[in-house]
Subunit: 150 residues, 2 copies
């Protein structure tokens, strides 16, 4: 054990890191150019939209989005300050709160999607065939399952 990776593994690793970085920064740039909030905001807003009127507890968001507790806390501060979410004290659990999306939040999320989606398509979706894309998704799915199981 603690063996050193083989060539193929190292190459795949480097490419995974590089492609993610490249693709993500393209999308972030597209959003910035369109004068829209960063991608993390989108993720939060989307989760909250799906959660419906009741909203979600921060710790639930934390799990869905794989964010550290302290990062999420501040991310919510910023999004709230922009008026896209609302935080209110939880009725049963005095420690907690419920976060929900506002009208303005929904609106901005809907405005973000075409920018996000079309960038994703252009730099990612259009570059692989349907078959290749499905393969990629499967391979990465396996990885995530294993990594998450730890």
């Amino acid at each position: 054990m603690t063996k050193t990776p083989n060539e193929t593994t190292m190459r795949a690793w480097a490419r995974l890191m590089k492609s993610q970085h490249l693709l993500l920064s393209r999308v972030e740039t597209a959003l910035k150019v369109a004068d829209l909030p960063p991608l993390t905001w989108y993720d939060v807003l989307l989760e909250l939209e799906r959660a419906g009127a009741d909203g979600l507890r921060p710790f639930e968001l934390e799990q869905h989005l794989l964010l550290a507790q302290y990062n999420l806390s501040r991310l919510l501060d910023r999004i709230e300050k922009a008026g896209f979410i609302r935080r209110k004290a939880h009725k049963e659990d005095g420690r907690g709160q419920l976060v929900s999306i506002t009208r303005a939040g929904s609106a901005v999320r809907r405005k973000m999607w075409p920018v996000y989606g079309s960038a994703m398509n252009e730099i990612f979706g259009d570059q692989l065939s349907g078959k290749q894309m499905a393969e990629l998704a499967n391979l990465l799915g396996d990885l995530i399952d294993h990594a998450s199981a730890k």
Copy 2:
């Protein structure tokens, strides 16, 4: 154009982001636990080691490592402060400098590799067959080629 991505594309995208994040943070944690510098330091040190005694210009490193100029500038500050690299004025180009690795820098890079490599193997290399890993590398290679060509 500006079409919205299909299901498979969105799934693959999400998994690419997630797996990278998950894997990277595992490796960073492993390094931290071993009381070693972060991964970016490794990348810099490795490049410099490969470059030989003359070292590299910062702008060359910048291209190899896909770092923003101002980020690299400060990254080099930190690494230099730790004594792992040396910066000296370039003889012909008065604007520039040459960065080279020190003994201590080589030593720490060599100490980092087993931690880095074994973590990479455990969470990544061991999770896919050789064939799968090669496929993954190919798919990601295509993506990078297209994205970089822009």
